[in-house]
Symmetry: C3
Subunit: 114 residues, 3 copies
Amino acid sequence: MPYINTKTNTVITKEKEIEIKKKFGKAIELIPGKSENWLMVSFEDHCSMYFKGKSDDSMAFVEVKLFGSADSGAYNKLTAAITKILKEELDINPDHIYVKYEEVSNWGWNGSNF
Amino acid sequence: MPYINTKTNTVITKEKEIEIKKKFGKAIELIPGKSENWLMVSFEDHCSMYFKGKSDDSMAFVEVKLFGSADSGAYNKLTAAITKILKEELDINPDHIYVKYEEVSNWGWNGSNF
Amino acid sequence: MPYINTKTNTVITKEKEIEIKKKFGKAIELIPGKSENWLMVSFEDHCSMYFKGKSDDSMAFVEVKLFGSADSGAYNKLTAAITKILKEELDINPDHIYVKYEEVSNWGWNGSNF
């Protein structure tokens, strides 16, 4: 039950989007017990965004939400992986990428909660 | 002070939107002390989304945010209600719907926090 | 590492957007240790939103996410400031503005977590 949303001020072509979701589907395995089998992914491109008061450079705000929790080492590895993917695919500089984690206690699927 | 955001890859017509927000306004009463009187609702349709690596089927990611907390039984009932509403109104299969809860400690309205 | 997202059903012109982000960059200093130097800001305007079942009036849902935590007094001051800014710049009534806080334990930047 992980979910990853990527918000960016740059444009994501359909080709890039497919490449990124494929790589995210692999990267999520860095969190023990998680896989693409339960992963939902969404993209918001061309957003109005500012970092340090400026909007000239490409930037991204990535939110990873997951049922339960994991240790900080796993999150750290996932941050490295997600950052690398966004640098490779969208050429966003790592120092313009935030990756934020949310551990969720109540999460529903198929009409009832886990 | 509850808030429900629905993110989906399908289209929500204005008629459907009004129907869904009306039903959400009723469903939120499943959480003790909450009602449409304090409910804010938002919709994001036609989003770029993938579940299990695929984007062919309709899907939704629903976020329920509320001030304070409730017991897991109430959340479970709300998940059932929201899932039913999205199946009825948008024909999204329940196994393609995530409903995620966030309990919030600091929440402001009208210029100051509760 | 703070982040502020503003979601509203009204329109935000580029001029207003720049004014708001400038004021947010100052307001964030109400949280000890935070400044525009680490602030990411995003805007979503013209959203489909309802408050108390109605969509006729302008409204906003503001999410403030920050690494670590602060005391509730600081959050309260920031709510007052953000509400004032949105009233001034977008003429949204304070009783149609929610400001919600999320304290984050795992937050990555530049490829690794803080």
